[in-house]
């Protein structure tokens, strides 16, 4: 069994800390709207200003996602996307980029179906830097979290507004890489980030862990991203990105140059916002 030793997340958070700023995480679904366009978007994200990438593993039944990310998952699956092709996409990305962290984000069933050990091995080989699996709470750590930690691959846990103080130690216990704070009680892309509450929540989390805290769900604009980046270690934007992809498609649902350019334009604006919010 191979182990993970690339430490790209650690390096990134150290650099952000030296630069005295928060980072920008960008979410796209692998294979949306098709494998080729998706890889071109992915490859262009670092230069556009993404500090890290959350790469969605498409799933037929994304129960924590709102309509926008559901639709992006559907587009990817219709275009032949799978867990296999998601891993392949990371491998292809690493041919030209060896520094930007990629965290795979999604649901457990495709991984379980792929086989956990085989998945970990293939993901590490391809250049994946961490996992976020929405439907694996600490209560189910034996499934993937512990096997992942055993081979050194960061397993990033979600903390939410409903995670009370009593539960925080449980949530932090087997978390590595960073903690993903879900800024709203809800699904992706439906409510706007309540900045004051989130700032207090991040402070609460930081008082109990040394892990970096990234914030996501509900961050759509450069202004919101900048506000969050003032107190969190990273702001993650997903729905606004996949909506931009959706809006760029032609009437047959195909992407093109416009898809890539409009995503890049949005990411540049978000990155400018985040970088302008030095602490």
């Amino acid at each position: 069994m191979i182990t993970y030793d690339a430490i790209r997340l650690e390096t990134m958070f150290q650099r952000l800390s030296t630069d005295r700023r928060g980072g920008l995480g960008v979410f796209i679904t692998a294979g949306d709207p098709d494998a080729k366009t998706s890889l071109e978007i992915l490859s262009a994200l670092p230069d556009a200003g993404a500090d890290m990438i959350e790469l969605g593993m498409p799933f037929s039944d994304p129960m924590a996602d709102g309509p926008a990310i559901q639709a992006s998952s559907q587009r990817a699956l219709r275009a032949g996307g799978s867990l296999q092709s998601t891993i392949e996409m990371v491998r292809a990305f690493r041919e030209t980029n060896t520094s930007t962290p990629i965290v795979l984000m999604g649901y457990y069933n495709p991984i379980y179906s792929y086989d956990v050990d085989r998945f970990l091995e293939d993901a590490i080989r391809a250049g994946v830097d961490g996992l976020i699996v929405v439907d694996l709470p600490p209560e189910e750590d034996a499934e993937l979290c512990l096997p992942s930690l055993k081979v050194g691959l960061p397993f990033v846990r979600l903390a939410t507004p409903t995670t009370n103080d009593g539960r925080l130690p449980i949530v932090f216990s087997n978390t590595t890489g960073f903690v993903y704070y879900v800024s709203v009680t809800g699904i992706t892309g439906t409510k706007a980030v309540p900045t004051d509450l989130v700032s207090a929540a991040v402070a609460r989390l930081k008082s109990q862990t040394d892990l970096p805290i990234a914030v996501g769900f509900g961050i759509k604009t450069p202004t919101q991203a900048a506000e969050v980046a003032r107190y969190a270690d990273a702001a993650i934007v997903g729905t606004a990105i996949v909506n931009t992809i959706a809006d760029s498609l032609d009437k047959d649902g195909h992407g093109g140059k416009k898809t890539i350019s409009s995503v890049i334009r949005l990411v540049r604006r978000l990155a400018d916002g985040v970088r302008g919010a030095r602490r």
């Binding site: 039944d61 924590a64 296999q84 069933n109 209560e139 979600l158 009680t185």
Partner: protein
């Protein structure tokens, strides 16, 4: 680890404290829901230890639901088939017309205990939705029902009933617009309203403690059957048969008999257009283990672990999964799982209406279709109990054109 292995000489001890029946079950939900799921589990553990909780539920059983439901000797069908004696457990006579109310009244009492006044539920055939809307009217609770858009159109009478009872019905248009998608949407809504709403899940699936809790509320079916059969025949039945979508009516009938070695038990899944056609809802026969909707269980899925759409003429069985305890009973062999096609169910639907004057729901029509394949070869003193878990009024619109085509009208 495993409190409920066959080696412990009982099939009735599960699940373990983390909700596992062997490798099945569990709590695969987003962190947002986890604290609430734990609260529901704690409240349920407390409530079920209190005699007052059960006394109140029992009173509703008797005066509101109309329990015990009769155990009826189906003489004309028995005569027609010319083999074993066929009994129907008449849960279609319950208030609201199906077994669903047994579970809903229990969960509504639990929700009230927890101080919740806002209820959500998913529904397929609409029976669980109607039962939930009914309990919410009775307990003065707000009620929102998530129902696949496809099911909204094929089960219109139930949609009308829910609205009349004061519930808001949300048609769900994602995916295949059926029960699976309704459950996704209900879970999404719950994630967004976790602190205020109680989710009344309608079958023995979902995150722990739901599979166990729903089973415990439905076990009244099997417990009554045991007593009534003793009264009628002075002994245990020989064979139990029930249809399975998520599997709550079946689990309710089966569970009290699981440790009776001499009782053969059959669960009947929906084979749709036939297992080989791929258009079916038989998770055990045609699926493999996976994780969806909070539990590990058998699922219809492709090679990549994407969930396939199920197909059944019966909206209540049209689901690509099954309760985790059924997956466990399938793998350890205690229960035999079989299937019946749309067409076989329609034949049984017509037959039961003509022979017994009982219009069955499409769901138990699948159970009767299977009964018809074994009953004639069994001896005359063999006792079969089939759960007549719902009545067919809701299905007429979907069924009548099909029966006309088949020349059965």
């Amino acid at each position: 680890m495993m409190a409920n292995s066959a080696a412990a000489n009982t099939f009735r001890e599960g699940p373990d404290e983390n909700g596992h029946f062997g490798i099945f079950g569990g709590r695969y939900v987003a962190e947002t829901l986890m604290p609430l799921i734990l609260k529901v589990g704690k409240a349920w553990t407390e409530a079920k230890a209190e005699p007052e909780f059960w006394a109140e539920l029992k009173s509703f059983h008797k005066h509101y639901i109309g329990r015990p439901s009769p155990l009826y000797f189906a003489t004309r069908l028995t005569e027609y088939f010319g083999g074993a004696k066929l009994y129907f457990k008449r849960d279609e006579l319950n208030h609201t017309g199906a077994h669903k109310i047994n579970n809903v009244m229990g969960q509504a009492l639990l929700a009230r205990r927890m101080g919740k006044t806002k209820i959500i539920a998913e529904t397929g055939a609409g029976q669980h939705g109607v039962a939930t809307a009914t309990a919410c009217a009775l307990f003065n609770m707000e009620c929102e029902i998530f129902m696949g858009a496809e099911d909204v159109s094929r089960q219109k009478p139930n949609v009308d009933r829910m609205r009349l009872l004061g519930a808001e019905v949300h048609p769900v248009k994602s995916g295949s617009s059926t029960l699976k998608d309704a459950m996704n949407e209900a879970l999404r809504y719950w994630v967004s309203n976790a602190e205020t709403h109680f989710y009344i899940i309608g079958t023995v699936a979902g995150p722990h403690p739901y599979p166990q809790m729903v089973r415990d509320f439905q076990c009244i079916i099997g417990e009554e059957t045991r007593e009534q059969m003793h009264e009628a025949e002075g002994r245990l039945p020989d064979t139990l048969v029930a249809c399975i979508g998520g599997g709550s009516n079946a689990m309710g009938l089966f569970h009290p008999f699981l440790d009776e070695q001499g009782v053969a038990i059959y669960g009947v899944e929906a084979a749709g257009h036939g297992i080989d056609s791929g258009a079916h809802a038989a998770s055990l026969t045609g699926g493999r283990p996976g994780v969806l909707h909070g539990n590990r269980t058998y699922l219809l899925q492709d090679d990549d672990g994407q969930i396939n759409e199920a197909h059944s003429i019966s909206a209540g069985l049209d689901y690509p999964g099954i309760g985790p305890e059924h997956s466990w009973l399938f793998e350890n062999g205690r229960v035999t799982y079989v299937s019946a096609t749309d067409k076989e169910a329609l034949d049984a639907f017509a037959l039961c209406s003509r022979k017994e004057g009982i219009i069955p729901a499409l769901e138990p029509s699948h159970a009767l279709a299977f009964v018809s394949t074994i009953i004639s070869d069994l001896p005359k003193d063999h006792l079969i109990v089939m759960n007549m878990c719902g009545r067919g009024d809701k299905d007429l619109e979907a069924v009548l054109p099909r029966l006309e085509e088949m020349g059965k009208l």
